[in-house]
Symmetry: C2
């Protein structure tokens, strides 16, 4: 059982930190085999940022994502760059604040992570954590408890409360979306 998650956006959106948190949630707190990769090449010079987290019950041979089960696209450019690799049945999760043109894909969820971070959490920099909360709820890739532990271990001193608020806001937004579309989330009953 191999599960591939790709997080992509621009350099300032905290996606590498989000990847580290997700990898540690699964790897340190759930005992899974996890590889997390950041790759830099000519694309990185354009200010793009991308990280991949591969989670498995068994040892991981190839650490990079081949056909992600999940793509989190935090801006238009990253959506366009990476949506082609997504599994046909994979989940596309986009920041509706920054992604205006969403391609036709049968499992797409658009949540305004940046707007939620700015308006509800009060700190735009927490959009990555808002997105992680939604991603965990929608995919069940990690439990909310592991995720919360991993978030609190990694965020800067003094920002624990803010980041818990961000996580909860992401979960809430995803729950609301699930309700709207009539789907049952893997972790609907678990509070962060």
């Amino acid at each position: 059982m191999r599960y591939e998650i790709r997080l992509a956006g621009s350099g300032g959106q905290g996606l590498i930190l989000a990847g580290v948190i997700l990898a540690e949630a699964a790897g340190l707190h759930e005992g899974k085999f996890v590889c997390q990769t950041q790759s830099y090449g000519p694309a990185a010079r354009g200010g793009a940022s991308m990280t991949e987290v591969v989670i498995s019950d068994a040892e991981i041979d190839y650490p990079k994502a081949l056909h992600p089960d999940v793509l989190l696209a935090m801006n238009q450019q990253s959506l366009e760059a990476y949506v082609v690799d997504l599994q046909p049945g994979g989940l596309l999760l986009v920041d509706a604040t920054l992604v205006r043109e969403i391609p036709d894909h049968h499992r797409v969820f658009a949540i305004p992570f940046t707007e939620i971070a700015r308006e509800q959490v009060g700190q735009v920099m927490t959009a990555n954590i808002v997105a992680l909360g939604a991603l965990a709820l929608l995919t069940g890739a990690v439990t909310m408890e592991s995720l919360k532990t991993a978030v609190l271990a990694r965020v800067p001193p003094g920002t624990a409360e803010l980041n818990q608020k961000a996580l909860a806001a992401g979960v809430e937004a995803a729950k609301q979306l699930m309700k709207d579309v009539g789907e049952m989330a893997p972790q609907e009953e678990i509070e962060p």
Copy 2:
């Protein structure tokens, strides 16, 4: 030209951040192809932390280190776990504060990173940055300018001065060591 660096130690030593910084120095500021990987498995549950940075002039097929050119071992356990994989001509860099038994290896440098961080920098948490300064000087894997830019982009707000001091202290310690052994460092003349 493929260059592999492995950073290993315990969970609280900031090695993943050090890996992110090193990868960004080469990938964002020097235009190299870089893959940085963190892997978690049964070993991670024992509190061990390990990250690999592969730097290349060409696209990287396999993102993990096969036979590292450099191993930075920040504690005894990680030294013992990983020294066997090191290239025969590779560089072994150890934290002399925490590593007591150094194996027989023809290119080994022992610098008390933790002690320098605590005594000279005044903050033990900066041992990872002290080590990065020494590693860059001893290997020339990244320039001091790229490294400094990458450090300042990643460390917590308000700690820029502290981390610059840590970087400089690591460079200075490595220079002193080179002088003692009569070797010429790749970046001896470059100030951080």
